[in-house]
């Protein structure tokens, strides 16, 4: 492949070129492959579905406690009653979109913006909210609390 002329090039020079080219190709290919290989490894948070989310682990919530977690691209509220029941509702207030919270003193869901209140299943009880909060299904899967959209209805 190489013509006669290349034989005149000093061996040291050829070595340098070889190292440069070989090393460069190797290094750049590694710098391409490294991200690709890391990409293929599933991330720690296995799911960001719109329909199914691990909201917390069993034991994360204390009785009469709550947690705001991400469901799809919007916040949702997981709460554990004093009796040990889990409830999960959308945390976006149906009035003007503020994030609602669980009032452990009043045992109801409250919106700080305009005093809207909802019961633990998301039904709007008083104040400005015109519609109930979307209610989600809560299942325990081993140590995980899985919140998913209600099917059917």
């Amino acid at each position: 492949m190489s013509n006669e002329d290349s034989q005149q090039v000093r061996p040291a020079r050829r070595r340098l070129v070889e190292i440069l080219l070989g090393g460069g190709v190797f290094a750049s290919v590694v710098s391409f492959l490294y991200p690709v290989l890391k990409y293929l490894v599933p991330p720690a948070v296995p799911d960001l579905g719109q329909d199914d989310v691990v909201a917390a682990a069993v034991g994360d919530l204390k009785p009469n406690g709550s947690k705001v977690f991400r469901f799809g691209s919007r916040p949702a509220l997981l709460l554990l009653t004093a009796e040990g029941e889990y409830h999960a509702v959308s945390a976006v207030c149906t009035h003007l979109g503020c994030t609602v919270q669980y009032r452990s003193d009043l045992h109801e869901i409250w919106c700080a913006c305009h005093n809207g209140t909802y019961d633990l299943d998301g039904r709007n009880v008083s104040g400005p909210p015109p519609r109930p909060l979307e209610n989600f299904q809560v299942n325990i899967r081993g140590k995980e609390i899985v919140v998913s959209r209600k099917r059917g209805v």
Partner: protein, 408 residues
């Protein structure tokens, strides 16, 4: 004659004949009532005629219509108006035929009002039914053109209550409407279109209009501002204000010119309210200073987290999770500001600490995003260097292959 009546019946738009408008439609004011005007009237639309209130015979085509024999009353005097309206509107059996859902206690309510009480003593300057509701083009309250539609009520009241000359004999202020126009409630209604925002009648009542008593102001505000009222109820200020005969919420928030409260209310500037009563250096003053400081601290930390997140976002980093959490931090701040009404620094501090925690986490997330961005740029730099090395290598290899005679 019957033919003429039938013809008139067909000709007029009402269910029953109403010849009064034939003349009164072209007379000069104050006798002028046009068909265009009266067709807008709710009573007309329900089938009533001029004779329903004024008496007379609406089927007659000329001055015979105004016959005393037919019960013609002519102009209704102001002191006769409430009783005339009440003749129908207080009769439950009668009103059920037209609108079973309408209340029929307006007249009895009116009699409890300041207007009604003065009216009973013979004062005809006070408002009677037609002053607020209109008379010949009376529209229901839900019609946005009605004088008693929520958007228009304040202006209707202001017609008298802002007229200093008119109100002189009564010795009450006439700045209510001017103050209300600057208020956050007025803004909610006019700028944000919130029809549930309070107007004059919300706090004063409509037919039974009277100012709420000093002790009951809090109850009125509490109808909407539930949590603030609950906290205030359990607070030290409630007993003090009550025993001093001070009107609760109004002391700090005023009654008509209720502006959007800011943290400056806790300050010592013109908007500050605490120092109206408290002395500088006393326990409460110190608590106030602490409160203001921690509220400001939370506000600042939320803002600084926001700005770092903004920088990260504009560099192309994805920080939507942290942005979501920021909403919660802001909620904590709102909550803290509501808890102020308990006047218990410990309670307020709980909300503030919660908010500070969230804001601090978000600031961290923003900083992490920025360092991730820097890491990516470094990684890019390294990859570019490798690529450049390869390019140089390729270039030299090509030259070597093709044996360029220049410095081999």
């Amino acid at each position: 004659m019957t033919l003429a009546v039938c013809a008139l019946a067909y000709g007029s738009r009402a269910q029953t004949a109403n010849t009064c408008l034939d003349c009164h439609g072209v007379l000069d004011p104050p006798l002028r009532v046009t068909e265009a005007q009266f067709s807008q009237d709710i009573h007309f639309q329900k089938g009533l005629t001029c004779a329903s209130c004024h008496g007379g015979d609406p089927t007659k085509a000329d001055m015979d219509a105004m016959s005393k024999a037919a019960g013609f009353r002519g102009k209704i005097e102001r002191n006769q108006v409430p009783a005339l309206c009440g003749r129908c509107h207080s009769d439950g059996n009668f009103m059920r035929q037209y609108n079973p859902g309408l209340r029929t206690d307006q007249f009895s309510q009116y009699q409890t009002s300041v207007h009604g009480k003065l009216f009973a003593k013979g004062d005809t300057k006070v408002a009677v039914c037609i002053d607020c509701h209109g008379v010949h083009d009376l529209r229901p309250a839900r019609d946005s053109r009605s004088n008693v539609h929520p958007l228009n009520i304040a202006q209707t009241c202001a017609r008298c209550h802002s007229d200093a000359a008119y109100m002189k004999p009564y010795g009450i202020p006439t700045d209510q409407f001017a103050n209300y126009s600057k208020s956050v409630h007025h803004e909610a209604m006019t700028a944000r279109g919130d029809l549930s925002a309070p107007t004059c009648t919300t706090c004063h009542g409509n037919h039974g209009a009277a100012p709420p008593g000093v002790d009951s102001v809090k109850n009125v505000c509490a109808n909407c501002h539930v949590f603030q009222a609950q906290m205030y109820e359990k607070s030290s200020h409630k007993t003090v204000f009550q025993s001093a005969g001070l009107p609760g919420c109004v002391v700090c928030h005023s009654n008509h010119g209720i502006t959007h409260p800011t943290d400056a209310k806790l300050g010592t500037g013109p908007e500050g309210v605490c120092m109206q009563c408290h002395s500088p250096g006393d326990d409460c003053d110190r608590a106030r200073v602490g409160l203001l400081a921690s509220l400001t601290k939370l506000d600042q930390s939320i803002k600084s987290a926001d700005s770092v997140l903004g920088v990260a976002e504009s560099s192309g980093m994805e920080v939507s999770e942290a942005r979501l959490q920021q909403d919660q931090a802001r909620d904590s701040l709102t909550k803290a500001r509501v808890t102020i009404h308990s006047f218990q620094p410990k309670l307020i501090d709980q909300d503030i600490q919660a908010g500070l925690k969230i804001a601090a986490k978000d600031l961290q997330a923003g900083k992490a995003a920025l360092s991730e961005r820097d890491f990516r740029r470094k990684g890019l730099g390294i990859a570019v260097i490798f690529i450049l090395i390869t390019l140089v290598g390729l270039f030299l290899y090509i030259r070597q292959l093709e044996g360029k005679p220049a410095n081999g």
